[in-house]
């Protein structure tokens, strides 16, 4: 038997991940499926951390295991459909099974052509990536290579990804949002009666009251220290959003909306993308290319490489603002049926 290049621990996790995926799809209790899917995400982020992708693992822990589970749960809470209907159609399922097996066989047939796992001289690792590892500190004064590639070398990519989050937020808003005044005159509100009001629980309220400031402090650290450690705008933004979602769940939606009105939320979602684009535009006015932060050195302190470092911080803040408020806006829409009054 050949020596395994990956840790045995990784093999165990990889098998566990498949088991969790099957379980999440096969249990009929949808609430349970959402929770198992959260566990699946945690296993996934352990695997990624083991392969050296700490930033990705961090994001997955905050997003995949944290916020997306909350989204699924708030959808289920609102509709009250927690059990899946038992469906027949075995012939149909078998047919799909055959289709999927054929697709999988095609993918597996490409396996012998892949370089050995973890080979440093594989085309992916040997062609363009070494440039970033060797030059990131001289160019941008950022030790975390992932941050500098994310916000500087591939800044366009991240700008458009942030725009995608913004557009998704707008899409959800336009799908879900209903006019409360219109709803009251036309028809009685169709809301699942709250079976359990979490805002009654003293323990939940006090515990989250303690946790929220620390979560927010940690999130700010993650954004500000993203140059030197795993983290950045995406992760910090999601954690900031999660802290306010926690407040919305443990108190109630009104409590959150008193501090952040609907208008402010949607304006801030746009403001993050605007900040990112504006930093790019400022570089053009300074005589450089779009998003070439080096040309900001006459405004920002330090030499050219420090200007790039500060430029990265600015756009990370923009990303953080957009991600934070779009997560909150998506949660409020899903949890309150688009009525922005009460919900999970």
């Amino acid at each position: 038997m050949p020596e395994l290049p990956i840790w045995q621990f990784d093999v165990l996790l990889l098998i566990l991940v498949v088991v969790f995926a099957v379980v999440a799809l096969s249990i009929r209790n949808l609430m349970g499926a959402a929770v198992v899917f959260g566990a699946y995400s945690f296993m996934m982020c352990l695997i990624w951390a083991g392969m050296g992708a700490v930033d990705v693992a961090f994001t997955e822990a905050a997003v995949g295991a944290g916020v997306s589970t909350v989204f699924v749960v708030s959808t289920l809470y609102n509709t009250g459909a927690t059990m899946q209907r038992r469906t027949g159609g075995l012939a149909f399922k078998l047919f799909i099974g055959v289709v999927v097996t054929v697709a999988g066989a095609f993918l597996l047939s490409a396996l012998p052509d892949f370089p050995k796992w973890g080979a440093p001289d594989s085309p992916v690792n040997a062609t363009v990536a070494p440039y970033y590892i060797l030059n990131t500190f001289e160019d941008a004064h950022v030790p975390n290579i992932v941050t500098s590639v994310l916000a500087d070398y591939r800044g366009f990519d991240t700008l458009l990804e942030t725009t995608v989050v913004f557009i998704a937020c707008i899409a959800i808003y336009s799908i879900m949002r209903v006019d409360n005044a219109k709803l009251e005159t036309d028809e009685p509100a169709i809301v699942a009666a709250p079976r359990y009001d979490p805002s009654d629980s003293l323990i939940v309220r006090q515990a989250s009251r303690f946790m929220v400031p620390f979560m927010q402090l940690f999130a700010l650290y993650v954004i500000a220290h993203g140059h030197y450690s795993p983290g950045g705008g995406f992760q910090g933004g999601v954690i900031l959003g999660a802290s306010l979602i926690l407040l919305a769940i443990s108190f109630d939606l009104k409590f959150l909306l008193r501090q952040w009105s609907e208008k402010t939320l949607m304006l801030l979602v746009a403001a993050g993308v605007f900040l990112y684009a504006a930093v790019g535009l400022a570089c053009v006015f300074m005589g450089g290319n779009y998003l070439d932060y080096g040309f900001l050195d006459s405004v920002l302190p330090g030499e050219r490489d420090m200007a790039r470092s500060h430029g990265i911080l600015l756009v990370e803040i923009g990303v953080g603002i957009t991600v934070m408020f779009s997560m909150i806006a998506i949660h409020i829409n899903l949890a309150s049926n688009g009525r922005f009054d009460r919900g999970l």
């Binding site: 990889l14 990131t136 590639v149 995406f234």
Partner: protein, 126 residues
């Protein structure tokens, strides 16, 4: 066969993608379809992270010592940062698209009081 063991990651990637595809096609429940979509997506992310991983490599963050004398940087000591950042943004976009999917499912539920595809189709025929 030896490739199958040394490239065990890729086998799991294919299995996860098959599970996700199966869920998207065969499951009748809209929420399960959304979860299937997310599983398919994490399969692809695992693929990218796997091709960027290097044996015995560290996380792609330069240490203080290495930063002070730039000739000391050894490329093979660090995992590939490029594949990682592509996937980092994909995860956040993934949760946004999951949100869109759930919003659509919730709106459908308000119309038909069901997440089940067959029931929705029956309701529409009436």
């Amino acid at each position: 066969m030896e490739k199958l063991i040394t490239n065990f990651n890729y086998v799991i990637v294919v299995i996860l993608m098959m599970i996700g595809l199966w869920a998207m096609l065969a499951q009748k429940n809209l929420i399960k379809k959304c979860i299937g979509m997310a599983i398919f997506q994490t399969g692809i992310i695992l693929f990218f992270i796997s091709i960027g991983a290097k044996n015995k490599a560290k996380v792609p963050i330069l240490s203080k010592f290495v930063v002070e004398n730039s000739s000391a940087i050894i490329v093979n000591d660090y995992a590939n940062p490029l594949t990682q950042i592509l996937m980092l943004t994909a995860i956040v976009v993934g949760v946004a698209t999951l949100g869109v999917g759930l919003a659509l499912a919730q709106k459908i539920y308000q119309q038909h009081s069901s997440f089940d595809e067959d029931e929705i189709l029956e309701n529409q025929r009436k």
